[in-house]
Amino acid sequence: MHGGTLAFPILSMLVFVPVAGALLITLLSKRRPEYMKLVAAVSSIVTGAMSVWLVAEFDGHATGFQFVSKHTWIEQWGISWHLGVDGISLFLIVLTGVLFPLAILGIDPHNDDPARDKPYFAWLLLLEAGVMGSFLSLDLFLFFVFFEIVLVPMYFLIGGWGYEGRVQAATKFFLYTMIGSAFMLVSIIATVFIASRNGVGHVTFDLVEIAEHASFAASTGRWLFFGFAVAFAVKVPIFPLHTWLPDAHTQAPTAGSVVLAGVMLKLGTYGLLRFGLYLFPEASLWSRHLWLSLAVIGIIYGAIAATMQKDLKRLVAYSSVAHLGFIVLGIFAVTSQALTGAVMQMVNHGVSTGALFLLVGMIYERRHTRQIADLKGIQAVAPIFAATFMIVMLSSIGVPGLNGFVGEYLILIGAFLSARWYVVVAATGVILAALYLLWAYQRVFHGEPDDDNKTFAELKMKEAAVLLPFIGVIVFTGVYPKPMLERIEPAVDALIAHVETRTGHVAPQPTTIVIDEVTHEEGEG
């Protein structure tokens, strides 16, 4: 366990700093709204800084979990406060750490009553703590606690600060996710008891202990896996459990959409990796064709549905269904490259879709409509805004040179080794993505602006400052993905090795090894 010598419990602080910020905000007088934002900004920036520092300190060559923090919490039930980070969760944590300060600083919640700032920022910070906790937890109980607790702030954010249909959307979101969690809860408990009788020897909710020592009978493991998978499939969302997503995304306030698309959907895909593939390798492999099929259906369905949308925000929401389909494809392809691509794409999707929601939010602020039909010719009056939108959109499409390409490409070539025909179908999804996004761009930005759109304001400094980090990450990762890949790969390889030793399944070897040798020889010559 590298980094375990650190005296400073950085992972616990990643959870506690936002919580402390939220508590402080609730204690502040509501007559001083300006302090609310300050406290929220400071605590989220501190959290973000710690998450970035984590990347610097992270030992890229080590497998296993780093910066581990483990304390007994509920002794009777074998539950501990067990946090740790590896290459799979590392960048999701950074994404969370960076996205929240941007959402807090960059997005005006438009509260008529300044007193409403107080709950708004408190909920956002609690949400950050919950998401951080979910990515960091290495204890099944702890993970469930965080996974569930994020629903509450999100529910209030959508319900309190969303658009017209917010109450219904928030309720739908809450209940859908909770139904999934209901199965996961039973599954978690069953996993723990069955594991305690099969290999582990005592009742513990420790993920690592169960994953390394428990041996489930095939049929048992499959049942347990499905309990988990339902919860994650709702969260991802995997077709056909996606119907809560367009409503929640569309009705949520901009900050809510950014966080929802940016990090909360990743709880699902991350869960499939960490609590699906890692905990139940046999069941995951056994059912992979189901997941691959649903992923491919999701890609195509999401793309077609996105093409049909009249509402720009809904379009982006459906594009998420398609993009998440790619990630699921990468996960269940179970090859080194596809998994690396999937992990990377989780981050990329968070960046590009987060930025898209920000931009759509800015359009709504200016025009008070999200209908594509109402927008026209914005490029002529706001070229910088249009250019920014273009870059983010191209990243979402997966154009080479931008971050989306690296992840999607890795997923496709990795999956091609193990799930060829799925990739053939999925690849058309890339083309469809170009279709619906470019078509939308064309309708919104090209042409002559009519009277309503003539006054469309150019990107403001403040808005540019929020978008700049997104653009920076999009371009940097697209051009130079190595720092990211080399931190992800050891963890992914360790996971694949774990799956291979547990199941006897042999993941198809990536062909790049040959290419590496060739370049190596050339270098010598």
Binding site: I74, F141, V145, F146, E148, G160, L175, V186, F193
Partner: protein, 504 residues
């Protein structure tokens, strides 16, 4: 048996061990006798005497806890009462709930100008009945406790004499409750017929020592069926639940809180005493019945709760759903009833009862405050804009509702987790999944109340709710307890574990 003895030997009475019961009875007598003979006491004194009595009784039970864990369990008064941590935990639960309810009642009565000792005396008498039910080691004594509790509750339900719905609720409860008591008593008689005793210890001995001859078994089985009907009524399990919504809605809100907490805790304690402790030899016979009751209560309670528009009625149905949850724990306890090492079933049920009692009193306390400020209206509309008028009160209500929905970091989550864990450990997967799905359906109901509270604007004309001190204190204490247990449940679970060693 007694009649055949030539010399009647009075059993030893362990006065100290009976002190919680004695404290409750003396408090009730003090209120009744002194209260009747003296002029009106200074404001709030009745309530404080009742609350103090409950607190003293609870503290005494707490003091005796170590006595039990150090010296082992025993029976009292010639085997009539059990002296074990099971009894202590139920006593503490009942006393805590009585304490909170007394505080809430104080403001309620004084505002209505009906302050007097009677209601508090009845609370304490009912609590005594509940404690006796939880500690009874003899079915007859259990019945006495049940009747003491029930009769006090009938009167309490009708105690708001000026409101017709309250009188109706009292009558309804009385008539139906009388039926249930009759079933229960007949059940005791049949079990006595089959086992030659009403004493729980002797019932078990009779199973262990005698070979059942033809017919006797049928008697016991019929007795068990009738006992389940009687107790099922008391815990409001479907299909014996029909009285619940009307009675809960009609009774004064503070009494509803009392019924939902003390009534339920005592009745579930009785279920455990009768089924798990006294009749483990028939566990495979009664467990399927409990399974069916649990599933029906979960599903019917949750689904019907969702379609209500009155918050009190919603909480009534949700209490049915909670009863289903607790029955899941009873079912789990049924798998290894009577064995040397018991699973988590019994501890999980008792934990659930304690946590739910506090939660439900807290919820009803908020409902009482809201209802009071707008003329007794408890519909969802009355809660609109509560967050704008009283943010802290709305926050407390939200904590209680989230806890009832089973959201993590609240006591409700720990309660639900414990029960589900007990069920899964006994491999009752189906019931665990049904329970969790029902919890999600019920969550919709809590969300509806939260939507009204936070997201919908109220009338400008609505009066801002007054939060009097003692009710505020009760709500704060309940909310703090809810969060405390949610974050730091270890000590309670540890304590609850000891109830598996019970006296009989």
């Amino acid at each position: 048996m007694i009649a055949q003895d030539d010399v009647f030997l009075a059993p030893d009475v362990e006065w100290y061990h009976l002190s919680p019961i004695i404290a409750l009875v003396s408090g009730a007598l003090l209120l009744l006798v002194v209260g009747a003979l003296t002029p009106r006491w200074p404001r709030g004194l009745y309530a404080y005497v009742a609350a103090l009595t409950a607190a003293v009784a609870g503290a005494l039970a707490l003091l005796q806890w170590n006595d039990v864990t150090d010296n082992g369990v025993s029976t009292l008064v010639g085997g009539a009462l059990a002296f074990d941590t099971f009894a202590q935990m139920i006593t503490i639960t009942i006393c805590a709930a009585t304490f909170l309810v007394a505080l809430v009642t104080d403001d309620e009565l004084r505002r209505a100008g009906k302050d007097g000792p009677e209601v508090y005396a009845l609370f304490l008498i009912a609590a005594t009945g509940g404690v006796v039910m939880g500690s009874a080691n003899d079915l007859i004594l259990l019945f006495l406790g049940l009747e003491t509790l029930s009769l006090a509750l009938y009167v309490l339900a009708a105690s708001d004499r000026e409101r017709p719905t309250s009188r109706e609720s009292g009558i309804k409860y009385f008539v139906l409750g009388g039926f249930a008591s009759a079933f229960f008593l007949y059940g005791i008689a049949l079990v006595y017929g089959g086992t030659q005793s009403t004493n729980i210890g002797e019932i078990i001995t009779s199973f262990q020592t005698s070979v059942l001859l033809d017919g006797k078994d049928t008697l016991v089985l019929a007795g068990i069926a009738l006992l389940i009907v009687g107790l099922g009524f008391k815990v409001a399990a479907v299909p014996f639940h029909v009285w619940t919504p009307d009675v809960y809605q009609g009774a004064p809100t503070n009494v509803t809180a009392f019924m939902a907490s003390v009534g339920k805790a005592a009745a579930f304690a009785a279920i455990l005493r009768v089924l798990v402790i006294a009749l483990p030899f028939h566990r495979d016979d009664w467990r399927p019945a409990i399974w069916v009751l649990a599933v029906l209560s979960l599903v019917v309670g949750s689904v019907l709760a969702v379609v209500q528009t009155d918050v009190k009625r919603m909480l009534a149905y949700s209490s049915i759903s909670h009863a289903g949850f607790i029955l899941v724990g009873v079912e789990a306890a049924g798998h290894d009833a009577g064995e040397r090492v018991l699973g988590d079933g019994m501890p999980s049920v008792l934990t659930y009862l304690l946590l739910y009692s506090v939660l439900t009193v807290g919820s009803f306390a908020v409902v009482a405050l809201v209802a009071r400020s707008n003329g007794g209206d408890t519909s969802l509309d009355a809660f609109k804009g509560l967050a704008a008028r009283r943010p802290t009160l709305a926050l407390a209500l939200t904590i209680f509702l989230l806890a009832q929905a089973g959201v993590p970091l609240t006591s409700g989550f720990i309660a639900k987790w414990g029960v589900i864990q007990a069920a899964v450990a006994e491999q009752s997967y189906a019931i665990a999944i049904i329970a969790m799905v029902a919890a999600v359906i019920a969550a919709y109901l809590y969300l509806r109340i939260m939507v009204s509270t936070w997201l919908e604007a109220g009338d400008d004309s609505t009066v801002r709710e007054a939060v009097p001190m003692s009710t505020g204190l009760a709500i704060t204490a309940a909310a703090a307890f809810t969060i405390l247990i949610g974050v730091w449940p270890g000590w309670l679970l540890d304590a609850a574990q000891s109830v598996t060693t019970y006296a009989r």
